[in-house]
Symmetry: C2
Subunit: 432 residues, 2 copies
Amino acid sequence: MLTVEELTKGLTPEQIEAAAETEGVSPETIRKEVEDGTIVVPCNPAHRGLKPVAIGKGLRTKVSASIGIDSWDGTVAGELEKLRVALDAGTHAIMDLSIAGDMDGARRAILEASPVPVGTLPMYQTIAEAAQKHGSSLAMTPEQMLEIIERQAADGVDFLALHCATTMATVERAKAEGRIDPLVSYGGSHLVGWMIHHKKENPLYENYDRILEIAKKYGVTLSLADGMRPGCLADSLGGAQVQELVILGELVARARNAGVQIMIKGPGHMPLNHVKDTITLQKSLCKGAPYFVFGPLLTDLGVGYDHINAAIGGALSSWHGADFLCYVTPAEHIGNPDASQVRQGVIAARVAAHAGDLARGLPEAVQWDLDMSNARRDLKWKEQIRLSIDPQHAQHIRLTRNDGDIETCAMCGKFCAMKIIADHMHFKRHSC
Amino acid sequence: MLTVEELTKGLTPEQIEAAAETEGVSPETIRKEVEDGTIVVPCNPAHRGLKPVAIGKGLRTKVSASIGIDSWDGTVAGELEKLRVALDAGTHAIMDLSIAGDMDGARRAILEASPVPVGTLPMYQTIAEAAQKHGSSLAMTPEQMLEIIERQAADGVDFLALHCATTMATVERAKAEGRIDPLVSYGGSHLVGWMIHHKKENPLYENYDRILEIAKKYGVTLSLADGMRPGCLADSLGGAQVQELVILGELVARARNAGVQIMIKGPGHMPLNHVKDTITLQKSLCKGAPYFVFGPLLTDLGVGYDHINAAIGGALSSWHGADFLCYVTPAEHIGNPDASQVRQGVIAARVAAHAGDLARGLPEAVQWDLDMSNARRDLKWKEQIRLSIDPQHAQHIRLTRNDGDIETCAMCGKFCAMKIIADHMHFKRHSC
């Protein structure tokens, strides 16, 4: 078994200690779980200024915000602004999902500016470059796919999202079972389109050993994504999705044998009553590899409110063992988010992650809530604002919906429930 | 056993049929469950223009929006605007929780303008009138409490929220167990303050038979509220809360014997892992009476985002059998909501209610989602907007985050995943 240092290509004892302290666990716990593969610390040595974050078993649920240039006239500066907003809102990781424009420039600028781990989805750039040069993603080549994976790894990307398990067998399964939405993964769809057109197996599956070599060489964590993720509730836990998850389990084992850190990205859309079972299945098939969930979304109708929809799914997922939540913004399904929607997405995911952490009984999460409950009972308004998940927003509402006096309760005016209890019931000493 | 007509004081067969049709169940189902007490149809004959709504077992989860004048300079017109916004956002019921100003005028104007059931919490007006006339809620009298209950019932209020089960025994239990937040219910706190000061049992418990007479006389549904609802996660499922729930079960039986429709209002704050158990306990102790939940909130930190926090709890509650969700707005804990926050609260609760309905497999909910999934696959944008939970907001985001062309997909520009699949995979015929 490889050590943490070998698996991460050089995480220092100080960095392990810092990550452990943030989580309220011992450095030995981090070491053991990273070696077991149940915790990952995505940390490419080429990503300078990174403060490594541990993700996985027994740790606080983490949140990732996806940004990236989405049109040929998009700018790197625009994405750096979204990065700033996402970091300010407390995201634990960033994904640069640029699909157009100066993709190399955006990635490098984001890596330069981000103290949190950065992930990418190399297929996006592969699609864009093939389309730009040859007019279609069908012009992609396996060598180009591998070249872009290595280019991004060499730049310092901490985790790479790859559709290595979306094989022809899963495509045939999807075709046979007549899904409502055959494929909704953007990268996965182009990849599958390529496979069908060229009558070839998935090059990311066939060349998985070469991908592992690249990951090992640069110290990149793999984040294998599910091309067959269900795109609507009706397709949840269908044969194609589950077959791909079986293959993902196979690829987890191969990554561990190769000394490469790996996590698995999951759906997607599912009803509430599939959340726990989906996570149990992933944890079982993928041998406890950290689970990075996208949402999930519990209804297909939440257009404009999918950050709320995803918060419901994220909270349940976090409670039942998901380790990492990919945020969803209010613009999901209808557009790409602006900076304000990025902020809303991060905060909604953080509320969800924290609710799950509380249900799992994580001591630091429980204490944080308890501190708030005490501040609320004691009418300590500044303390309540400070302890809020988004103090800036909480203060804004308090100031706009009241007279602006931060120390006075304005919920009930002079008919204050807390004060009545303090005055009459003598349960406890209150500060008001 | 009384008939629906007797229990509701005159619901017509046409109204029962209309309510049944809205729910996709038979009129016989509504009749039987109302007679069993597992469905309520709050419908005061004096509330003219009401379209009765059935709430309970096997039906779509309903949503209620709380409005009401919150300061002595608040206006009836301001609350009517919030009513308009809440109805436009699709609320199924309204609660007028006025605590100051022209409370009689607000209630009457809201009843006049609302086609959905209207609930009130008479203790609020009792507190306000006692404070106004005598400077303190301690000047309340049992007769004044009953007079205001009857005044509100006579006006046409469809359901009355009353803290009938917050007895001295529950107060002593709360005192003995050392809760973090002894009492957070505004009405319940003043009532308990009064009880302690005057060394008397809860007048709403002692005079419960008179309350049942009033309810019977005017055809009002009772919505018994829990004065001991936990105000923070740490207090969830404590002795005082559970003891009050036992007493609520006793009062449900007495209401049924008296031929009065009844539902139970519940917490409040709890961790995710208490939601299902809390609902199971309520349903068991209260003999299947419909459960009206406030949130619940799964973390105490969500200040400014408690509508999202409550959507998580509401979705889980709806899935596990709660029948009616009391919305929570982004202003919760820090102020009273403005009209825009009322809208956000209603929509978040509707997303939650629908997610729960889907998990319970309600056929109409499932079909609605399926229609959206088909529209999404087929890139039918107008259809997607129309099927959204809030078409107006969905369209706004789509127009502002794209080029304004409602018929073109702008998610991926020309690299459209759906189109690739349609072109290459021939799974299905797409319209794009």
